[in-house]
């Protein structure tokens, strides 16, 4: 049975959390392991309803550490896998996210952000985890994190998260927030969606080395042979050679490995990085935002446009990898960049770093679950 057979009418009025489930099922996700937590519970709930109908598996685990472990293991059987959580659970997942990076395991992690630190504000919106998505696990690595600001975008970016995860063999994090997760809007379920699958090998069993690259494609991403496929596969979180075996005291082996893990992302930033711009061409001021904050930001930009201000709106649908070149170019064009986010200033730091003092970078910060109003932002544009 196909996902489309069970999702219902093509136009629906649903929450962001449910749209995330729709996106995952369309993308081919057939394994979900998780532990319910506000405001991500609806994702687990809907997954438990839909997955069995598609012959998939839903497991409620004992905690988020185990959830992350389960989706990594299931991914190595060849399935597309996902988990969903919020801040406290996301913290627990960090160690295993590093393991997924090191073992190049495709999987999708959804973080529906709420107020932190710790258990914080379970029912309120926040964007306080964006740095945790980037740097939460230890060691040097690159990751992909996407951020939707509408229910429709949630569906589409969930599909994109799976596609990028499969293509680059990296965990992809979908950074939602409580507002988007619990808001209802009309969605249109897209047909004829482009679905990417991890690249597999088709060579003699004897020659396959699981972490050697270039068998089928000239890329820095090794071809994937799932457990049970007949190919010799060995995975470990330790620094490993092309056979997957631990090589822990060889500086070159380690630096080669982590450089490849990073470069497979950074070399392809043009393919991965995607933002939504408006009025960029003649802009003297740029408002950069993401998630729920992007909505009042766009409203403010439209209000300012009516006052004949040359203001651009940039919605950072891709949070990580960060495109320093894009912001650097922007800083040469505009006089001021206004960053709007529901934290004490997180993406603000990366943007300021990329602007290198060429233009003013100011922050509109909103805390406590209060979504900034268009008025808050228009004040800064004036």
């Amino acid at each position: 049975m196909d996902a489309y057979d069970i999702l219902g009418p093509s136009e629906q009025y649903i929450q962001g959390d449910k749209a995330c489930v729709y996106g995952a099922l369309i993308a081919g996700c057939r394994f979900f392991a998780g532990y319910p937590i506000t405001p991500a519970t609806e994702i687990a709930e809907e997954m438990s309803r839909f997955l069995p109908k598609l012959g998939g598996t839903y497991i409620q685990m004992e905690d988020e550490i185990a959830s992350m472990g389960a989706i990594i293991g299931a991914s190595w059987t060849g399935k597309k896998t996902m988990t969903a959580t919020s801040g406290p659970g996301f913290s627990l997942m960090q160690e295993n996210i590093g393991y997924a990076v090191m073992t190049e395991t495709p999987c999708v992690i959804v973080d529906v952000q709420r107020g932190g630190p710790s258990t914080g504000q379970p029912t309120m919106s926040s964007q306080g985890d964006v740095m945790q998505a980037r740097y939460g696990s230890h060691g040097d690595y690159e990751i992909i994190a996407l951020c939707p600001s509408s229910v429709q975008e949630t569906l589409e970016l969930t599909i994109r998260a799976f596609n990028l995860s499969e293509k680059y063999r990296v965990p992809v994090i979908l950074m939602m927030d409580e507002s988007i997760g619990h808001m209802r809007e009309k969605i249109t379920i897209p047909k004829d969606v482009l679905i990417a699958n991890r690249s597999t090998v088709d060579i003699s069993y004897a020659y396959y080395r699981p972490f050697r690259t270039g068998y089928m494609h000239a890329t820095k991403i090794p071809e994937f042979a799932p457990f049970g496929s007949g190919y010799k596969t060995f995975i470990t979180g330790l620094t490993h050679d092309e056979d997957g075996f631990p090589t822990t005291v060889n500086p070159k082996a380690h630096s080669d490995l982590i450089k490849r893990l990073s470069e497979k992302i950074t070399d392809n930033i043009d393919d991965i990085f995607y933002v939504n711009n408006k009025h960029l061409e003649y802009a003297e001021i740029a408002v950069i935002s993401y998630g729920i904050s992007a909505r009042p930001s766009l409203a403010a930009v439209n209000m300012a446009q009516k006052l004949e201000k040359n203001v651009a709106f940039i919605n950072l649908n891709t949070l990580w990898p960060f495109n320093y070149e894009f912001i650097s170019e922007l800083s040469k064009q505009v006089e001021k960049i206004i960053v709007v986010e529901m934290n004490m200033g997180l993406m603000y730091h990366s943007i300021r770093e990329a602007a290198e003092g060429r233009c003013d970078v100011v922050l509109v910060s909103s805390l406590g679950g209060r979504v900034p109003t268009p008025k808050d932002i228009v004040e800064m544009i004036k």
């Binding site: 405001p39 619990h182 209802r184 009309k186």
Partner: protein
């Protein structure tokens, strides 16, 4: 045109359901743009509950209420807590079983009283919805019917549709009464 609607009441009165039915009717069946958000979490059964719906002909960026055009309340506690950021000329709907009517005029819809007469108090939200649609025209009655038909379990469908129609009737009556009052005070 952007219209901002806040529905409030006690947890368990079907406040969120009413918001969902309204938003769905507007977006799926009236062809408008609509968002619905809801207060969530600790205020479950018993506590004050609210949902905010925006209905517009244009894209909705900010999904929260700035100044409400329509304010609906089904409990005194929720009324006191959420009757803020409401426009001066907003349409105010209250259920007189729980809330004392406002001096400056509001639509007093005896939704709970009628629901009990119809056999189930939980229909009050649908009755109120009918009255709101009838008076404000924020959504068409036909679309609300479709919204209910595509959402509510078949076993309870008939009684919900009847409740909606009852609400429309109460709306018509309230509108007449208010007109009479307004004329009398002139």
């Amino acid at each position: 045109m952007r219209r901002e609607i806040r529905i409030t009441g006690s947890g368990g009165q079907g406040i969120i359901t009413a918001g969902y039915l309204l938003g769905k009717a507007a977006s799926i069946y009236d062809g408008k743009i609509s968002t619905q958000i809801q207060s969530y979490g600790p205020e479950a059964r018993g506590g004050a509950s609210k949902t905010e719906i925006i209905i517009s002909d244009e894209d909705i960026y900010y999904p929260y209420i700035q100044m409400a055009d329509i304010f609906i309340s089904l409990s005194q506690e929720a009324y006191e807590r959420y009757r803020r950021d409401v426009k001066k000329d907003a349409a105010i709907f209250i259920d007189p079983t729980f809330i004392r009517p406002e001096k400056n005029g509001c639509y007093s819809i005896p939704a709970t009283e009628e629901a009990i007469k119809m056999g189930s108090q939980i229909m009050a939200n649908i009755i109120m919805l009918g009255a709101v649609a009838q008076i404000t025209g924020v959504v068409s009655i036909e679309s609300l019917q479709k919204s209910i038909r595509s959402t509510i379990n078949e076993r309870f469908l008939e009684m919900n549709i009847n409740a909606l129609l009852k609400g429309c009737e109460l709306g018509k009556r309230a509108l007449e009464e208010n007109t009479i009052k307004a004329t009398a005070s002139d």
